[in-house]
């Protein structure tokens, strides 16, 4: 009797648990976004729109950034929703750390926001995983006339589809401490080449042992090494067919630059620099004004100059070096970030309207200013320079960089695993563990293996 009771009660508990779980599973689509159903409803809504009042929509918009970007973007969202009371925009923002991991998880899980801020180097690998973003060309809500068509085609169009819109244009530039330059007798008009960076750096360091001309971290060494190589070859670093765009002799030249820069005292020794890798603005020597130049995106200008203790120092921006006999410029220019619309979004049309407003409306331009870099449209650039919202030095530097820009980097070149190999090799040369020749051999060997692997995966 007792045993039977126990059996019955066990069965009861199991059935309760089972219904509980089934109940949850059924409920899920309601709370999550059931894309197909809602998309269909939305399409229907589009056709009826003329006679019906706009349907209430809630959209999610995610971005990364710092305080000023958060504040400006939230203000923009508020301004837009005030004008369009049927739209509600949920802001999802945070710092750069972990943003990519979160985005990929959301894209894989089908829970990505309607509007996403994406970094341009991610686009090739993201789009190779599936059709994730709406082709902007197909949206009649967005006015593309203000954008540079060539730039959109070459940098943001993948597989014939315009994946997103650039929030700004950035090209590599160099910031320099004008006050210190005067002290050392370096002309502000110097036409920088990779060779005179080292020559002048050597002279500066000989005059004062505490001072180095350049504040570089490993990423910047990578840019320079690749620029030297690409200017000689006129090719991509890694070609589209996953073969190397250079041979050993040219690579040795690029690596030799690193060795020379370290040996001559143009840059801080690796042992000291490496502590501030990826956060070069916190390097105490930089803060104390003992490093005179930094190579970086113009959007970092304020961050770098703000962190210097001496507030009287004057700063300016100049162009990234180009060798005289360059076949093609090695300056990288790209979209600061890309605004993409989720292909599975239920509110594509409303999202497109909001993006159009963000990029083309006068009010939005004045609210957003330069929080996402120098704007990509000429209209916005002009409006902001006229109202003194843009730093004239940065606009000038960006325009020079874009004028001198090389080919946009292709997908294989930006592969994160290859970048890791670069970092390794650059450190081995920087610490003097390998000669440039030996390092070139190792890099080519490891690249060949990794490229074969990447190609097989494709």
């Amino acid at each position: 009797m007792k045993r039977a009771m126990r059996l019955i009660s066990t069965l009861c508990i199991i059935s309760i648990l089972a219904t509980l779980f089934i109940g949850c599973a059924k409920e899920a689509p309601k709370t999550g976004t059931d894309s197909t159903q809602q998309a269909a409803a939305d399409n229907k809504d589009k056709t009826d729109k003329k006679d019906a009042a706009p349907k209430n929509v809630t959209m999610r918009f995610s971005w990364w950034g710092g305080d000023s970007r958060h504040k400006a973007t939230l203000a923009a969202i508020e301004a837009y929703t005030k004008k369009n009371p049927h739209v509600k925009i949920e802001a999802e923002y945070g710092g750069f750390d972990g943003y990519f991991q979160k985005l990929t998880t959301q894209l894989a899980g089908g829970t990505a926001p309607d509007i996403m801020q994406v970094d341009q180097p991610w686009l090739p690998s993201l789009t190779s995983q599936g059709d994730l973003f709406v082709d902007i060309n197909t949206l009649k809500e967005i006015d593309l006339s203000a954008f540079d068509k060539k730039f959109l085609d070459s940098q943001l169009t993948i597989g014939g589809k315009l994946q997103g819109l650039p929030t700004g244009l950035i090209g590599i530039t160099m910031f320099y401490n004008k006050t210190a330059f005067e002290k050392f007798g370096i002309s502000a008009d110097t036409q920088w080449t990779f060779d005179n960076l080292i020559e002048i750096g050597k002279q500066v360091h000989e005059k004062d042992k505490n001072i180095y001309l350049l504040n570089l971290d490993i990423n910047k060494y990578d840019w320079i090494m690749k620029a030297i190589v690409k200017e000689k070859t006129g090719e991509q670093w890694v070609k589209d067919d996953y073969t190397l765009g250079f041979d050993k002799a040219i690579l040795v030249e690029g690596l030799t630059w690193i060795k020379k820069a370290v040996d001559s005292g143009a840059v801080q020794p690796f042992e000291e620099m490496i502590l501030y890798d990826k956060k070069a603005e916190t390097n105490p020597k930089w803060v104390n004004g003992e490093l005179l130049m930094n190579i970086n995106w113009p959007s970092s200008f304020e961050r770098f100059t703000e962190s210097v203790a001496n507030k009287d120092a004057k700063w300016d921006v100049t162009a990234f070096p180009i060798s005289k006999d360059a076949k093609k410029s090695g300056v990288i220019t790209r979209a600061a970030q890309v605004m993409c619309i989720n292909k599975n979004s239920a509110n594509i049309s409303e999202a497109a309207k909001f993006i159009n407003w963000m990029f083309n409306d006068d009010e939005a331009i004045l609210i957003l200013e330069d929080v996402r870099g120098v704007p990509a449209t000429e209209k916005a650039r002009k409006m902001l320079t006229d109202s003194k919202k843009l730093d004239e030095r940065i606009v000038r530097a960006t325009e020079v960089a874009i004028k001198n820009s090389g080919d946009p980097e292709n997908g294989p070149t930006n592969d994160p695993e290859l970048l890791e190999i670069d970092r390794d090799i650059i450190q081995k040369v920087g610490y003097g563990q390998l000669t440039p020749e030996k390092a070139a051999d190792e890099l080519i060997q490891r690249y060949t293996e990794k490229l074969a692997e990447l190609k097989a995966k494709k």
């Binding site: 899920a28 305080d67 958060h70 949920e90 979160k102 961050r303 870099g373």
Partner: protein, 278 residues
């Protein structure tokens, strides 16, 4: 005499080591009163120019929400998770430590196996599961797993502790008329207090500091806990107000430190006696 000299040397060395260990913490506190430039320029503690408003300014946060929201969110996330973990882990551990049932060994091996499984591997399946349940962007993603005793480390710890309590106590309790539930409540839990405190403290500090899981599961800024809030304004291009960030980091550390100090007595006892056979 010789012993005394040795003692003094030992104390001096320990004090020096102690200072070295505590220095980063002191630096953090001191930095919250420095200007942005000074933070990275010197490693001294006394600010040249005192910044006094970093706590007030930092508390305001960077957008719609202040740190009041973020602190409340963190407690909302952490406290139920800790309580649920203690309740669920102790009942599962009791089962493994005191009862005979079919496949016990296999099941226990499974529990230990999940202990070995890195979080990164199960994050995507978990994400999809939670999505289908409709739990994303809620704290259910933390509460419910804790309620189902998914933290196998705690189960393991408690099983070891319970095994150390003599079975004779259970038997005498049965003679006194206890059933298996009252044995747990009246006999074992009071004895296992140190171990339970350890579970609580560990879980509190881990959930308090957890960044990755909240990053993946929580979307709305209105639901952000401190771990996400603190990193909200660190970006690669923007100017970071480091002193405000340091100030908020100091405040964020306060609750775990308080918990640790208040429960330290039990905590140390719990660690020291786990695994001892009675």
């Amino acid at each position: 005499m010789k012993v005394r000299v040795q003692n003094i040397i030992a104390y001096i060395l320990l004090t020096l080591l102690g200072i070295v260990m505590v220095y980063p913490l002191l630096w953090l506190v001191a930095s919250s009163f420095k200007t942005n430039q000074e933070i990275f320029a010197t490693i001294g503690l006394i600010p040249k120019k005192w910044v006094l408003d970093s706590y007030a300014q930092g508390w305001k946060g960077s957008g719609q929400y202040t740190y009041t929201t973020f602190f409340l969110n963190t407690f909302m996330l952490v406290v139920p998770t800790v309580i649920a973990s203690i309740v669920s882990s102790v009942s599962v551990a009791y089962g493994f430590a005191r009862f005979k049932f079919p496949f016990k060994k296999v099941l226990f091996a499974l529990v230990i196996a999940t202990l070995m499984l890195p979080n990164a591997i199960i994050i995507i399946p978990k994400y999809i599961l939670f999505k289908n349940f409709g739990w994303l962007n809620t704290y259910l993603t933390f509460w419910i797993p804790a309620l189902f005793a998914t933290y196998s480390f705690f189960i393991f710890m408690l099983v070891q502790f319970l095994r150390g309590i003599p079975r004779e106590l259970d038997e005498s309790a049965i003679i006194d008329g206890c059933n298996s539930f009252t044995i747990l409540i009246r006999i074992l839990i009071p004895l296992a207090k140190p171990a339970l405190f350890s579970v609580g403290i560990f879980q509190f500090i881990w959930r308090w500091n957890d960044f990755f899981n909240v990053l993946v599961y929580i979307n709305s800024v209105s639901k952000f806990p401190l771990a996400l809030a603190l990193r909200m304004s660190i970006d690669i291009t923007d100017v970071v107000a480091w002193n405000r960030l340091m100030a908020m980091s100091v405040l964020t550390m306060v609750p775990p430190i308080l918990i640790f100090f208040f429960a330290q007595k039990y905590f140390v006892e719990g660690i020291a006696t786990t695994g001892l056979k009675g």
